[in-house]
């Protein structure tokens, strides 16, 4: 918006116009990798060497044809054809994290994971961690087989020894514990019951890395049952979140994201959207999407909830309680919640039952139960019991436990009392771990009985009541692993230990009722769909907790003081269980844009003394809960003053070559308040030291120099009355032709139009529904064999991601002086913008390539031909969007990148590569291809069936991964395609509908950098903020 004074900036460096930032912004490329300094030029010897090499190469190439084998199957399975992908519905289960998925396999190897649209829980959505999980299957640090005392052992011997120990313990009445994260699988629970029946002293203890125990207890207190209900954000007009990062780590985040996207969607037909208030300390991805974001300290979460309760209780005529604290936007939020009764939702991230009781009371007054909260549909994602875990640790330390089995859990690393567990494990006579990797816990146990990876396993899951889901193997187990359930059954002395048969039999007994088909057909259908769902009755609850007591508990337990700490799960490595996955390590964290690094986020005001420079940060020491850690400081705009934030998931020591040694473990900083884990602390000793460190951040890479019209946004009010269209930025260029000497840039062009007789591929990206979650970035990496380059190379600004998500901050404050700068960085608004090759119709890159390696296709694609590229990099220099990536190194089969680019450097890792996409070598340019391999496949399928290509047959990887449907891809020549309808595509010349000149009549649609008239095939839809007014 030219008229508005709003400025957008990517990082504090840009806001402060730091000299280093300016220098980088004006250079498209980081300096080329250094050559040997001693070599001043090319000598005669170089020439001779080159000649010699050339001759040798030519003669070798001429006489030797390397023998390549082609080895067919002996017995080809009917359903597997080489070069044709198969898809299997399955289920991603990682502790309590759940996603119904479809696995793409090629020649028996899983190579991609997509969401399963048939599931009513995740509805086809995925997350970065789900997308990345396919590479975890090929993790080189996986266990190759069972071990005892650190040495390899046969399964048979292991079973004999474990059973002997178990019998011994059972004989003397010793205690046995099974420790796991949340177990979603009803069949696994049945297996554990069988184990318990054989060894009656066994107890099963569940814990979660991000505990929701407070909610369970609060619901027990409020409604009589310890459960977590389903939430429906899509039905909420007003959403208030008190530090709940519900788009990332709170509750069922994939489902939440999907629903949230729905409530944020606007169109000509639906001109309304939800309003979202967020009260939080750190800048979470959820807070970044909020309309109103208020900074609070973690100790104030309870007080904010009480205040909100009192405000609403006053309207509802209920008694108010003592406590509470006034905060900006709180009374406005209360007013709107009350106005939108029945369409309102309040959530809180606190794991304290008292806070959750107050929130339950608010939701009760607002009539949320039965509308936006479904108590009849409880979820099972977080069943962890903090109290049970605490008593387990006490018992373990007291030597009261004789046997412990860690079922796919790693509490030594990811439980706050991990150190105690580690120390006490030495005195336990039997300890077994079943995780598919050794990990921190596994190194301390007697027996390692590795489970399969989830993509190799049979399993089932019940993420929600009456919503069942099946896991099926998409590959034969790569190593000598064995299903953990089979291990349990074996140790329990079961006659039949086949877990597949066990699951099948369970499904026959539990679900095969009142069916009109035979069991095999029923089973096949469930496997085909991946899910089996039964209707659920609505269910109602009566609130019966004492809010006054809860308010008192809050007032007693939380005293603000000193520097306050928030311990959170970030959007990339999450809880750290997949930390050894380089796809996640190199994924820029949605908000901080940091990769491969661990840091503490600090507000700009608290970071006084730290220069706002990208390259130098300082270490800080943090003392909390009796532990001290040392991490570098990251200055985070929007962080509440007086608070710091540190992510869990780092500081792994036994995860593998990728993750080990990155950052520190933040789990031990977590203390317990009110009998549940508290992810915050007060009076933290926080000292910035003198040691400097550079955090690898991508935030200011690829900046548009001085071009300010990249983001367009408006307010809901202006969108509703169409007044924003007048304000919409419409660039004009100066010309002598017109009377006014001004002209629409589209009218002036030296380009001839392209004829797109067949298809005209285009994409629309809705900035309103994009939450910035970055699942698309990972999906793109996996689909297109994008190389990962590691921390050093990211610092050198050489990351290879084809699709990046630009995160912009904005505020109305002037940046003329230091004061304005401080205000701007204090609590900025945030916009996420996925940026990829725009496939310009007037592509500037194409005209400058001296060897025609980048050309335009008759379908609107900007093609990049690697084998033709000679690496001049002119194209990247000329790209206004900065989306071209240059291969500075050979990233495959290169020891230097062995530990960061695992998918291209080991035989195991290479199994994940997409065989339809070339692995690029050193010295060539690459960029988004609009998933041309998928386009070609879609077209071929249509041609084989002798029919026209239908809309929706070709789906790009990013589109498929987008939970909110923010990305729409399709044929703009087809007037009935989704993209044509969404953008309201109109050919400029009705006589020639197939030329590239098409106008998007959707008033929200705009092209980035319209003034340079490169005519991109990607349109963005203006972001609409549901704010009273856009500050301007």
């Amino acid at each position: 918006m030219e008229e508005s004074k709003k400025i957008y900036w990517k990082g504090i460096e840009q806001l402060a116009n730091n000299p280093e930032f300016v220098k980088h912004a004006h250079h498209e490329f980081a300096p080329a990798p250094p050559v040997d300094e001693e070599d001043p030029g090319h000598s005669r010897r170089d020439f001779l060497k080159m000649m010699g090499f050339g001759m040798a190469a030519v003669s070798l190439a001429a006489c030797e044809a390397p023998i390549r084998k082609a080895i067919p199957y002996v017995n080809k399975p009917v359903d597997i054809d080489p070069s044709i992908a198969n898809y299997y519905a399955s289920t991603y289960i990682n502790g309590g994290d759940y996603c119904s998925i479809v696995v793409k396999t090629r020649e028996g190897r899983p190579i991609k994971v997509d969401g399963n649209a048939l599931s009513n829980v995740t509805k086809g959505g995925t997350s970065a961690q789900v997308e990345a999980s396919v590479l975890s299957l090929y993790d080189n640090d996986r266990l190759r087989g069972p071990k005892a005392g650190g040495k390899k052992i046969d399964w048979k011997d292991l079973d004999t020894q474990v059973i002997a120990k178990l019998s011994e313990i059972a004989g003397k009445g010793g205690q046995i514990r099974i420790v796991s994260n949340t177990v979603l699988s009803p069949s696994t629970k049945a297996v554990i019951e069988k184990f318990k029946a054989k060894y009656p002293t066994t107890q099963h203890i569940q814990y979660d890395q991000t505990s929701h125990y407070g909610m369970l207890k609060a619901n027990e207190e409020s409604f009589g049952t310890a459960m977590i209900p389903s939430y429906d954000f899509s039905k909420a007009n007003t959403i208030v979140s008190i530090a709940a990062d519900f788009l990332n780590s709170w509750g069922s985040s994939i489902e939440n994201t999907k629903q949230y996207g729905k409530s944020r969607e606007v169109s000509e037909e639906k001109r309304d959207m939800s309003r979202h208030y967020q009260f939080e300390s750190i800048m979470t991805i959820t807070g970044a999407n909020a309309d109103y974001r208020t900074q609070i300290k973690p100790s104030e979460e309870g007080a904010v909830a009480v205040q909100l309760y009192n405000l609403i209780a006053a309207k509802a005529g209920r008694a108010t309680v003592s406590g509470g604290m006034e905060k900006p936007n709180l009374s406005r939020a209360a007013d709107e919640l009350w106005e939108n009764r029945g369409k309102a939702l309040v959530v809180a991230g606190s794991n304290d039952r008292a806070v959750q009781v107050v929130v339950n009371a608010i939701n009760d007054m607002l009539g949320s139960y039965g509308t936006t909260i479904l108590p009849g549909l409880p979820v099972n994602f977080r069943q962890g019991n903090d109290e049970a875990m605490t008593s387990f640790v006490t018992e373990l330390e007291g030597g009261k436990i004789d046997g412990v089995i860690f079922y796919n859990a790693n509490p030594v690393y990811d439980h706050p009392q991990g150190e105690k567990i580690a120390a006490a494990l030495k005195n336990v006579s039997l300890s077994v771990a079943t995780s598919y990797k050794e990990e921190e816990t596994g190194t301390l146990v007697n027996f390692l009985a590795p489970d399969h990876h989830y993509l190799e396993s049979w399993n089932d899951a019940e993420p929600k009541k009456n919503h069942y889901s099946l896991s099926q193997p998409a590959i034969t187990p790569i190593f000598k692993s064995r299903a953990a359930q089979e291990s349990f059954l074996t140790w329990a002395g079961a006659a039949d230990t086949d877990y597949f048969e066990f699951v099948k039999e369970n499904w026959r007994n539990w679900f095969f009722k009142n069916q009109t088909i035979d069991f095999q057909s029923f089973w096949d259908k469930c496997l085909y769909d991946g899910v089996y769902e039964l209707p659920v009755e609505g269910g109602s609850v009566t609130f019966g907790a004492n809010v006054g007591n809860a308010a008192n508990a809050i007032a007693n337990n939380y005293k603000s003081g000193g520097m306050e700490l928030v311990i959170y799960e970030n959007g990339t490595v999450g809880n750290g269980s997949q930390a050894n996955n380089p796809l996640l390590q190199e994924l820029p964290e949605p908000v901080t844009k940091a990769v491969w690094d661990h840091y503490v986020t600090v507000s700009p005001k608290d970071a006084a003394g730290i220069s706002f420079s990208e390259s130098i940060s300082k270490y800080a020491t943090i003392k909390a809960n009796g532990k001290e850690v040392r991490v570098p400081v990251l200055v985070q705009p929007g962080q509440a003053q007086g608070t710091i934030g540190i992510a869990v998931g780092y500081g792994r020591t036994k995860a593998g070559k990728v993750a080990d040694g990155i950052g520190v473990n933040a789990y031990p900083l977590i203390a317990s308040i009110n009998n549940s884990l508290s992810y915050s602390a007060v009076n933290v000793d926080f000292q910035i030291t003198g040691d400097t460190y550079q955090i690898a951040q991508t935030q200011t890479h690829n900046t548009y120099m001085g071009r300010a019209t990249v983001i367009q946004e408006t307010s809901l009010a202006e969108y509703k009355d169409d007044s924003y269209q007048k304000k919409k930025y419409k660039p004009e260029i100066h010309t002598w032709k017109e009377e006014s000497h001004k002209s629409d840039p589209e009218k002036l062009s030296i380009w001839k139009n392209h004829d797109y007789n067949n298809h005209h591929w285009g994409m629309a990206i809705d900035l309103n529904t994009c939450t910035g979650c970055a699942a698309c970035v990972v999906a793109c990496n996996v689909e297109n064999n994008v190389a990962l380059v590691g921390r050093e190379e990211v610092i050198n600004r050489r990351e290879m991601h084809w699709l990046r998500i630009d995160r912009y901050y904005s505020s109305s404050a002037s940046i003329d002086d230091w004061k304005g700068l401080e205000e701007a960085a204090d609590n900025p608004e945030v916009v996420f913008q996925p940026m990829l090759c725009q496939h310009c119709n007037n592509a500037p890159c194409e005209t400058v390539c001296p060897v025609a390696a980048t050309t335009h296709s008759t379908e609107g694609l900007n093609q990049m031909t690697y084998n033709r590229c000679i690496g001049t990099r002119y194209c990247a220099n000329n790209c206004p969007y900065k989306v071209r990536r240059f291969n500075w190194f050979k990233y495959h089969d290169n020891r230097q990148f062995e530990n960061v680019n695992t998918a291209m450097n080991t035989d195991l890792g290479k199994m994940v590569l997409n065989p339809d996409v070339t692995v690029r070598s050193r010295g060539v340019m690459e960029k988004c291809s609009f998933c041309v391999q998928r386009i070609q496949l879609g077209k071929l399928n249509a041609k084989k069936e002798r029919r026209p290509l239908e809309d929706g047959e070709v789906v790009t990887a990013c589109q498929a991964s987008c939970s909110t449907g923010a990305i729409v891809f399709g044929d703009m020549n087809n007037p009935n395609s989704r993209i044509s309808k969404l953008l309201k595509i109109r050919p400029l010349d009705p006589n020639r509908p197939h030329i590239n000149d098409k106008e998007a009549d959707n008033p929200r649609a705009y092209a980035v950098l319209e003034e340079i008239n490169v005519r991109p095939n990607i349109f963005y839809l203006t972001k609409v903020r549901n704010k009273e007014e856009v500050k301007a």
């Binding site: 084998k69 007789n757 296709s857 033709r868 041309v932």
Partner: protein
């Protein structure tokens, strides 16, 4: 480009318990065995039902060639019986239909005719063609009837052998020879004339009064040494050597990576000449992937065993080579064939696009495979070779609704046929991505 970018389809362990849930593609009919007995009972009444229209006959031929030919001939007993007159000798047309659709069921039902047949052909069952419609079977019978009436004289396939000879283009060779001889004669004449000139000039100069120095010049002997040291000679020789060397280097560079004619020794001396030539087994019968996807696929051993369950001895190699297949099958050990056609990893080629969609004959690129005992790379497989074909070839748009819009737009603008080139067939990202 990397050599690791694309995987050659390999054998991978596959879990037999995997349940395929998507891609319920119809399975290719595979195990072919025999039928029908030689008992010649004439039921001429039935033959009247069989269609006689050329359309039915040609449709029947197509089905016969791609499905039945691996085991059956019309006039010749092969793996299965010769089919001439089968419509007359079999119990009924309906019997034929049910036998083709599910032979084992007919045998199991205790049908005497079928059981006899089964026993006569060493108890080998014929593959069930459950996907055949009645009409398909009638068309096949129409073709068989047509061939039966024509009699065994005409062997299809014999004619074909003449077809694929390379055509001579440009000036005939004899004409060139005449030209060459003529030019040499003219050159010799020139030399003779020049020699006459020199000698007459010498004589003319001798008649004049010359100084000693001048005489020396005139009478200086022409020896090999003087020629070799003359500037002109050195220049000519240097030029010729340089030019030939340059040509050799350029030729050498152009042939780098080209393997035309590559015919490696295979682990089994499999002869396409016998299988595809003599027995006329359709290419698609063994190379099952060719209509479906990128890879035409080298047949898996179980496909070989469809016939070699029965045929244990070959005409030229005896039992040795076939025994290798049986051994591989019994030991569940894949055969490591040597790949002949090696496209670089950076090029994407899809068989289904060319064979299924475009209807290109296999021989167009692979040459007369049916005449090759040892298969060799017939074509250049260079990018120029691909592009040349894309420039010349019309798009096979017949009956393919995908192309309707393109054809309409093309015809509105141009009178010529729509070539592959016209619809983006020369674009980079058709083959490189």
């Amino acid at each position: 480009m990397s050599s690791n970018s694309r995987f050659v389809p390999l054998v991978l362990e596959t879990d037999t318990s995997l349940i395929m849930i998507k891609n319920y593609l119809h399975s290719t009919c595979k195990i072919f065995l025999f039928v029908f007995t030689l008992i010649s009972v004439s039921f001429s009444a039935y033959s009247q039902e069989i269609p006689k229209e050329p359309a039915a006959i040609s449709a029947g031929k197509q089905i016969f060639d791609s499905n039945c030919k691996a085991c059956h001939r019309v006039h010749q007993k092969l793996v299965g019986p010769a089919l001439a007159g089968v419509y007359d000798r079999a119990p009924s047309i309906d019997w034929i239909k049910s036998f083709v659709k599910n032979s084992s069921a007919v045998i199991a039902s205790g049908d005497a005719y079928a059981v006899n047949l089964f026993n006569e052909y060493n108890k080998t069952t014929m593959t069930s063609f459950s996907s055949f419609k009645d009409q398909d079977i009638m068309n096949v019978l129409a073709y068989i009837q047509d061939e039966t009436i024509k009699g065994p004289g005409e062997q299809p396939g014999q004619k074909q052998k003449v077809v694929d000879g390379p055509k001579e283009e440009g000036v005939p060779a004899t004409y060139l020879n005449v030209l060459l001889v003529g030019m040499i004669v003219i050159l010799i004449l020139l030399v003779v004339i020049l020699a006459f000139l020199v000698s007459s000039l010498k004589r003319f100069l001798d008649q004049k009064a010359l100084t000693e120095e001048e005489k020396e010049v005139v009478h200086s002997p022409i020896t090999a040494g003087t020629i070799a040291s003359s500037r002109g000679f050195i220049f000519v020789v240097a030029f010729l050597v340089g030019a030939l060397g340059f040509k050799a280097v350029i030729n050498g560079l152009y042939s780098v990576g080209i393997q035309q004619g590559y015919a490696p020794k295979q682990p089994i001396a499999f002869s396409h000449k016998i299988h595809a030539g003599q027995y006329e087994i359709d290419c698609k019968y063994c190379h099952v992937g060719v209509m479906k996807g990128k890879s035409a696929t080298i047949p898996s051993v179980n496909i070989c065993m469809n016939c070699h369950n029965q045929i244990k001895s070959g005409t030229t190699t005896g039992e040795g080579e076939i025994a290798k297949i049986v051994r591989a099958y019994n030991e569940n050990r894949p055969i490591e064939w040597v790949r002949i056609h090696n496209l670089p990893d950076l090029a994407y080629f899809n068989h289904a696009q060319h064979v299924n969609v475009a209807g290109v004959e296999c021989q167009t690129c692979h040459g007369p495979v049916q005449e090759m005992d040892v298969v060799r790379q017939h074509s250049l497989l260079t990018m120029g070779w691909c592009i040349d074909c894309h420039r010349k070839t019309d798009v096979n748009t017949k009956g393919n609704a995908y192309y309707d819009k393109l054809v309409e737009l093309h015809n509105a603008k141009s009178k010529g046929n729509m070539k592959v080139e016209n619809i983006g067939g020369l674009e980079c990202s058709k083959c490189h991505y």
